[in-house]
Amino acid sequence: MQLKINGETREVAARTLSELIHQFGLNERLVVAEVDGEIIDRSEWEEARLTEGMCIELVQFVGGG
């Protein structure tokens, strides 16, 4: 299925947000996820089903002033 992740179109096998986070090898304690403009709480990632064309943003803390 194709998703738009952080502005890029990507082909993914993941079916849930949780699987997607793991597919990219991300540390789930440090990442925040937004799906179609709505923040999805970490506790809901396992149930958060992905569907074709969803727009996903994955962000984290980086160095900054």
Binding site: N6, F24, V32, E34, F61, G64, G65
Partner: protein, 254 residues
């Protein structure tokens, strides 16, 4: 002596930014040398093909820090509010530094959008610390809007030009009841002393430490400068006079 922001007692009066350090090792040395309890961060997209490159939190030692994420990258209140919500969803902090740049050349804060974002985020329960220009009227409005601290800039971010308008910064420190943290533009320890002597409650420093030849040494210098400036302020400086007053008895007397 302790001070408080948003009900949280603090000892250190340095907030340390975490951008532009040469390495995580040097950054950790500088954090320790500065004694900072509050660390600032930015929120950015994960780099999907190298997710650990920018993941700064994996390098931090100790878990006693207060995280102050900023809304840099936002050019209006709406974008800043979105970034603030993302930051809070991390579960790491409900503090937010509102930072809305009016233009990319100077990175000076947009006063109207900063006030709007502050009002909205206070209503959403954030502990809001807006980065603002050194305008005393605006600083008052931010306080009225519920800012937990107000952070006027000394000069544009990363310039090291020091405090361009000490008169205004002094007025802001005098008039506000919430803490005033001078943010941006500090170049060396002398600027940090000056900010504290003007009555600021703290300073936020990033580039001056991160890009110094020896960041850990500069971090220590800033720590001492903030303490010296604060002590000097509380001790009460002498008035300036045009002509000399002898500090030794006049005349030979022998």
């Amino acid at each position: 002596m302790k001070w408080k922001i948003g009900g949280k007692p603090l000892t250190s009066r340095i907030f340390l930014g975490t951008g532009r350090f040469p390495s995580p090792l040097v950054q950790n040395q500088a954090i320790e040398a500065s004694g900072a309890e509050v660390l600032t961060f930015a929120i950015r997209r994960v780099h999907l093909d190298a997710p650990h490159d920018d993941a700064i939190l994996q390098h931090l030692e100790g878990d006693h820090f207060i995280y102050l994420p900023n809304t840099s990258g936002a050019s209006n209140a709406e974008e800043a509010i979105r970034i603030a919500r993302l930051a809070r969803a991390s579960g790491l902090s409900d503090w937010i530094k509102v930072e809305i740049h009016a233009d990319q050349k100077t990175l000076l804060p947009d006063p109207v959008e900063t006030l709007k974002a502050t009002e909205a985020l206070v209503k959403e329960g954030f502990v809001v610390l807006p980065y603002t220009s050194d305008d005393p009227a605006l600083a008052r409005k931010l306080e009225e809007a519920g800012a937990a601290a107000v952070m006027p800039g000394g000069s544009p971010i990363g310039t090291g030009l020091g405090l361009l308008n000490p008169y205004n910064l002094g007025l802001i420190a005098e008039e506000l009841r919430v803490p005033v943290v001078v943010d941006a533009g500090i170049g060396s320890a002398a600027d940090a002393v000056q900010a504290m002597e003007l009555g600021a409650d703290g300073v936020l420093i990033n580039t001056a430490i991160a890009r110094a030849k020896d960041p850990a040494a500069m971090a220590q210098a800033m720590k001492l400068a903030v303490e010296a400036g604060r002590l000097s302020r509380m001790a009460g400086r002498i008035p300036k006079k045009k002509y000399a007053t002898a500090s030794s008895p006049l005349g030979l007397g022998v």
